[in-house]
Amino acid sequence: MAREPAVLRIFVILVALAAGAILLLPPPASAQEEVASAIRRYKEKEASTGYYEEYEVRPRRQRPFVEIPGVQVGLFPYSPSAAEVRVRTRLADSHMGIAFYTDKTCVACHPQEAKDIHTVRANLTCRQCHGGEPIASIQYFNSPMNPIRKHAYVCAKCHEGSSASFASYIIHEPAPGSMAALKSFPLLYIVYWFMTVLLVGTLAFFIPHSFLTGVRELFTRKKEAKNDADTTH
């Protein structure tokens, strides 16, 4: 073991370097910075006028929605809700003509939409994103929620520097294990079931395994007193 001290010394140096690397990391973001690219930061003008570079405004890689129910396009299709036919998704007032609309809370009619992180954890109200009356449908041309401007008009209110790509985060994500998810966000569905099977499989294997070990050892211990352990059956 003559090489032990040398290895140890190298190891200590590497530890010191790695610890030093912490200092180089940017602090965890408590608020996101508004940044156009790695080297070019937004100036006050852009921030105050709302003028953004052209490439920021158009969803690029993203197709905002799975448009045709039952027809998957692309490798990783995703859409905000199950791809049913959305009758009212192009209206200026999504609730035009809906009876009793004024007497009810949003959640009474849209229970599924109240289960996202923003509503449950961050305590946002629906209107902080969807705005006042009339609530425009998602795909209405002038809707702030329209995917071509959602990032700037909605998300950027709170998430500085939000890009079109960022805004393709699915706010009202479907329950990840549901058939709705399989239809509208297959990758989420697959990941969910993969992890669930892994969890259940691991526990289903190791809990009985541990339990049997415990039981068997109890018996071994008893016999051991009389005889040697290795030959007990």
Binding site: M1, I10, F11, L14, V15, A18, A21, I22, L25, P28, A29, S30, Q32, E33, V35, R61, Q62, F76, Y78, K115, D116, I117, V120, R121, H159, G161, S162, S163, S165, F166, A167, S168, Y169, P174, P176, F185, L188, V191, Y192, M195, L198, L199, T202, L203, F206, I207, H209, S210, L212, T213, G214, V215, R216, E217, T220, R221, A229, D230, T232, H233
Partner: protein
């Protein structure tokens, strides 16, 4: 009182790795749960311990960074453990944590032994479940690290990946965390400390050594190969001093109880989280 002969099992560095993993893992569980369960009465309570919702996230992030650094250091350390003169033998050999065919054989023998149909498998230095323990953490940590960094810098992430990858990252982070927590707090604790042959505590990871007699019983092939290669003398170790034993008993059980407390409450309050 003659001291019982003991052999060395974990070096100081390895024990430090384990200790820092214990502490950071517990902190991550507590801060992570305090956010996951924020909608429940219990979640609010542990949240208050860490100074609120935002603060517990801040702690979670920094501890995460420390864990990532630890992971890198550990990986570097792994490479220093390989005997570079005979790399293949040392990576796939008996002393290594890399799974091999013998593990499958041992597993089969172990099942038979459970029901008294065969004799105990002759384990070498690491049993197959110890290897599983190790590799479960070894792939879980990077997974949590990658998804964690994605969520930590969502704007940067969405420049390289589409924004919906954050949905996936959040789900993976949560699922893997739950997997790790249930595995550690149920299986690892039981196999490590609570089963009859190691109760009240398996001290190897704290004292660094095991009594020769115990090793001979649990891992006969290991002791045999040490004997054959003449290394048995070299790895003999002194017994841990009493005050140190008291410290790690108290510490170990505090961690165990706290972990089980988190897990039980986590299961009890799971219905009330309110997320999909």
């Amino acid at each position: 009182m003659t001291p019982t002969p003991r052999i060395k099992r974990f070096s100081v560095i390895e024990r430090l790795f384990h200790l820092s993993l214990m502490i950071t893992f517990l902190l991550q569980t507590a801060t992570g749960f305090s956010r996951l369960y924020i909608t429940t009465a219990w979640g609010k309570k542990i949240n208050a311990v860490f100074g609120g919702y935002d603060n517990s996230l801040l702690i979670h992030k920094w501890v995460g960074v420390v864990m990532m650094v630890g992971f890198v250091i550990h990986t570097v350390y792994l490479f220093t453990r390989i005997n570079w003169r005979t790399p293949v033998k040392s990576v796939f050999g008996e002393d290594s944590l890399v799974p091999n065919i013998a593990d499958l054989k041992h597993f089969g023998q172990r099942i038979l032994w459970f029901f008294g149909l065969g004799s105990r498998p002759r384990f070498s230095r690491w049993t197959y479940w110890e290897k599983f323990d190790y590799w479960a953490v070894y792939w879980g940590l990077p997974l949590l690290a990658i998804t964690g960094v994605m969520l930590m810098y969502p704007m940067v992430t969405s420049r390289f990946l589409p924004g919906w990858s954050l949905n996936i990252a959040a789900l993976l982070h949560r699922a893997e965390a739950i997997l790790a927590v249930t595995y550690i707090f149920i299986v690892h604790f039981f196999i490590g400390h609570l089963r009859p042959s190691s109760f009240p505590m398996n001290e190897a990871m704290f004292s660094g050594s095991v009594p020769l007699e115990e090793a001979n019983e649990e891992k006969p092939a290991w002791v045999e190969s040490l004997q054959n290669s003449g290394r048995l003398k070299m790895v003999s170790a002194a017994a841990p001093v009493l005050w140190y034993r008291v410290v790690y008993f108290v510490f170990g059980y505090a961690v165990l109880l706290f972990g089980v407390y988190l897990l039980i409450n986590g299961i009890m309050y799971a219905r009330q989280v309110g997320l999909h």
